[in-house]
Structure formats: structure tokens, C-alpha cells
């Protein structure tokens, strides 16, 4: 149960292909937050994330006839998003919207239930992620945050499974080090 609709992805896809454009709203509502999380973590700010997400849904709509597994629309759209994030990230670079001045806030923020401190932690994490190479950040997020299998990651990224395993391992090691540097500051 997704809270959006009982209709399956395939039902929505078939309705859209039959000319019911409004049915596409069901797919957007179902997947926008899940895909939005990846875009936010990957690109580092809401404006770029929403741009990538909007391009993804519009492209997915226009090429919906090429979605060979309509019941897996979400996974198919996720693959489009991964590519859009790569392109957008390369075009714009990550915007410097990180306003936190005190990186030691990590210590305080990590254990805090205070929403302000939790926000500070996210900013620190955002900064650490921004220092990872894009292909390492992408692999780390897909594996540890989106919890995809290596097979799913390979299908989305076009990279081989051994290469993805290496990127995940390196991304994890580098992020662990970056966070411990901040922790020690």
C-alpha cells in the first residue's frame, strides 16, 4: 500500500498510453519522494534535485512506450534519474549552499533529537558527500541509501558489477574518513 492509489504501475502506464494523460499523475505521486531522495543526496540541493526529477518524469512520460516492464516503472524511471543527475551534476557542479560554519556540529547533531541539530547533521553530511567523486557518491548512495542490489545498480548505471563493488568500497572508505576528520576537528 503506497497511500497514493491501489492501481499498479502497469495499469497507470497502460492508461497513459491509451491517452489518459492524467493517469500519469498517479505515477508521479507514487515515486516523486523516493526518487527525490536520491536526487537530493546526489546533487546536494533541492533546486537541482527538483530540476533533475522534473526532467526525469517528463522524459519518462515522452518515452513511456519504451518502458518494457510497465510494472517496474519506478525502477525504469530511477535509471533515467541516475543519468539526469550525472548530466546535471557535470553541467552545474554542486552549488555551494552549505552554510554551516561549525563542522564540529556533527558531534552535537548526531545524537540530538532537536530538528535544528538534525538539520546541521544533514548539512555536514551534504558537505562530506560533495567531496566524494561523483561516481563514488553515486555508487555509495545506490547501495547504502537506496539499498539496491549490484544487479540493479549495474542495470541502472551501465557499469560492471566488479567496478560497482570497487566504487562502493571506496566511497564508503572515503566517506568514513571524511566524517572522522570532521569528528576529530
Amino acid at each position: 500500500m503506497d497511500g497514493v492509489s491501489e492501481a499498479s504501475d502497469a495499469e497507470f502506464v497502460h492508461r497513459v498510453l491509451a491517452g489518459d494523460t492524467e493517469a500519469y499523475a498517479g505515477l508521479v505521486a507514487r515515486y516523486r519522494d523516493r526518487l527525490g531522495r536520491y536526487a537530493m543526496r546526489m546533487l546536494g540541493n533541492r533546486a537541482d534535485a527538483e530540476d533533475a526529477l522534473q526532467e526525469t518524469f517528463v522524459r519518462a512520460y515522452r518515452s513511456l512506450g519504451r518502458c518494457t516492464e510497465p510494472n517496474r516503472f519506478g525502477a525504469w524511471a530511477f535509471g533515467i534519474l541516475v543519468n539526469r543527475c550525472r548530466t546535471l551534476g557535470a553541467q552545474r557542479g554542486r552549488r555551494e549552499r552549505l552554510q554551516i560554519a561549525d563542522e564540529v556540529a556533527l558531534n552535537r547533531a548526531a545524537d540530538s533529537a532537536d530538528p535544528v541539530d538534525r538539520g546541521a547533521l544533514r548539512e555536514v553530511l551534504n558537505r562530506a558527500l560533495s567531496r566524494l567523486a561523483p561516481h563514488l557518491r553515486e555508487a555509495f548512495l545506490l547501495k547504502f541509501v537506496e539499498e539496491l542490489s549490484y544487479e540493479e545498480m549495474a542495470a541502472m548505471t551501465g557499469a560492471s558489477i566488479p567496478a560497482l563493488k570497487m566504487r562502493v568500497s571506496r566511497g564508503r572508505a572515503e566517506l568514513r574518513h571524511l566524517l572522522s576528520e570532521i569528528d576529530d576537528a
Binding site: 497513459v16 516523486r32 531522495r37 515522452r62 512506450g65 571506496r170 568514513r176
Partner: protein, 190 residues
Amino acid sequence: MRDPDQTLDRAIQTLREPVEIGEAFDRRVMAEVAGGSAPRRPGPIGRAGRWLIQPHVVRVSPLVALAAAAALVVALLRPWERGVEPGAAATQATARSVASAAVPTRFMLVAPGASKVTLVGDFNDWSVDSTPLVNGVSGGLWTVTVPLPPGRYRYAFLVDGRTWRPDPGAPPALDDDFGRPNSVLTIGGS
């Protein structure tokens, strides 16, 4: 100082927190979708391609099924391939098992100031913890011996959990991602 693994785990939990994009976004997407061209339905070639990759129920007569089964039996038995004795087949199997036997392979790195060195590579799924090197008595020489079946492997050393170092005694992996410093090792198989 905190445990870096605990810090990383907390970071992952925070990154997994849901993100709310909001319904205003839906409206923007739907406005753009409604204002553009309709989705392209697959053409005859696309439909043919889709038909090929989708499962179908194929009905055949018992006679056709019998003929297909006979052809399959002939193909599997391959009577045109004569001269392979049962003993020879066993010898080939033994040779294959010898060829695939693991070869003890020693890795070493001189890192006098390091407090921890691990080996990461294809063979351990790039695990940063599973293959630690041992610091020698003289200090600074880190070694580990790993049994590896024949094959080509990419690997590197991870020093103190943060510095990725190629093996200075091995050629670099030229086909590596983005020019990252890995080394390559080939264990002969026959």
C-alpha cells in the same frame, strides 16, 4: 573520539530519511506533460522487439514435440565427436580441477608509519576489512598470503582506513575506472 563506523552508520541512517517533494511539484510536471507531445507508442519494430522478450505460450502438436526432443537428444550426444575415451574425459576433468586450484599469493607493502593495512580487490569484493596485512617483526613491512584461483585481479592496499595505494611492485590496472590507482595481478591457469 568516536568510532568511525558508528559515525558512518548514523550518517547512512540520516541519508535514508525520507524527502518530501510536495504536490506543487506534481502540478509542474503535469503542466509540462500536458503541454508537450503525447508519449510515443512503440512502432512495429518496437512491438516486435517487445514480443521477442516477453514470454509466450507456444502450442505444438505431439509429433512436432517428438521431433524436437529427438533433435535435442542428438545434439546433446553429439555422435560426430568420436574418440574421447572415458579415461581421457576423467583426465581432462582432473586437469581442469588442478588448473582451477588456488595459488597461495603473497602481497606486501612497505608502510612504516601505518597502524593498519588491508588488502582490497576483486577477490574479496573490495571489502575494506576482510583481508588485513600483518606487520612484520622488523616493522614497516606488511604482508598477507591469499589463495587465489587462476585469473586476472585488480587490487590495492588501504592504509589506515583512508589512503588507497596501488602495489608499487605490480603494474597499474590500465582499464580501471577514472584512472584510480589500482594494481593488476594475473595468476596463470594452465
